[in-house]
Symmetry: C2
Amino acid sequence: MLSKKTKYGLKALTYIARTGDDVPVQVSAIAKSEQIPQKFLEGILLTLRKAGILGSKKGKHGGYYLRSLPSDIKMTDVMRVLEGPIAMVPCVSLNYYEKCDDCPDEHACSVHKLMIEVRDSTLKVFRNKTLGDLSQV
Amino acid sequence: MLSKKTKYGLKALTYIARTGDDVPVQVSAIAKSEQIPQKFLEGILLTLRKAGILGSKKGKHGGYYLRSLPSDIKMTDVMRVLEGPIAMVPCVSLNYYEKCDDCPDEHACSVHKLMIEVRDSTLKVFRNKTLGDLSQV
DNA sequence: GTAATCCCTACTAAATTGATAGGATTAATA
DNA sequence: TATTAATCCTATCAATTTAGTAGGGATTAC
């Protein structure tokens, strides 16, 4: 299941991309338009900023803006920041690999084999999908 | 993240498929070989039986067996039983569709669009992957 | 009749999720 | 310079889910 965090994060990014101007977008505006609890959203945008996807401006007339063109923001990056590893098990994760305690031999493990295929197919989607694609109406 | 339930379930099914005989396989044997807490595994095999994937025989020399040939047991079915809906959000689920409270228009929703693609690509993997494929060494 | 096996229900501890609360910091502007 | 509007940060919390345990009931082979 997709977490609310990810869902809200994607919606917020889309909102910012659609607004499109060079003026920063306020959390309050996004929260209101997308029906997201504002305080919760604050935290989400903060992680996106710390991950380098968003930039921010403090104080009056402050807000958030994209650090790159929407068409340059890949879903792989966004999803990893919001939802964590794309792989469903650590033993097939490219970026967060971890050996299973149980499994003596990964190559003989049926779960491993299956999850590699799922990972690759999901990755293929996220790799050629950008925020630009998402924000197209 | 894949739940332990699913992971254990897949390993157990693979074990049964590999044993391959017509004699039922005991929970204790699977638990020992695959390093799964036996009582936990009992419950998992029970759900697989109730879903019609496994059959069981009670009493001495009882155990679990596959209701179909490994090559006829599709991962779509197994995964739905163990892990639940394949879609990451209910609004793109084929079997468990549910409208989002927030979203006024699904077609305009960026999350919806993205998750349909993820669902389709995952489905493609599960649809042409059977237990037979998994149990190949 | 006894031992081995599946079957069923209830319980529990730990982790995660989805928030909320309260204020600190920063910047524009009247 | 004081005010206001924003982001930033930490702590806390309730509800849910997950992973597992406990205890025994029902069934069957021998």
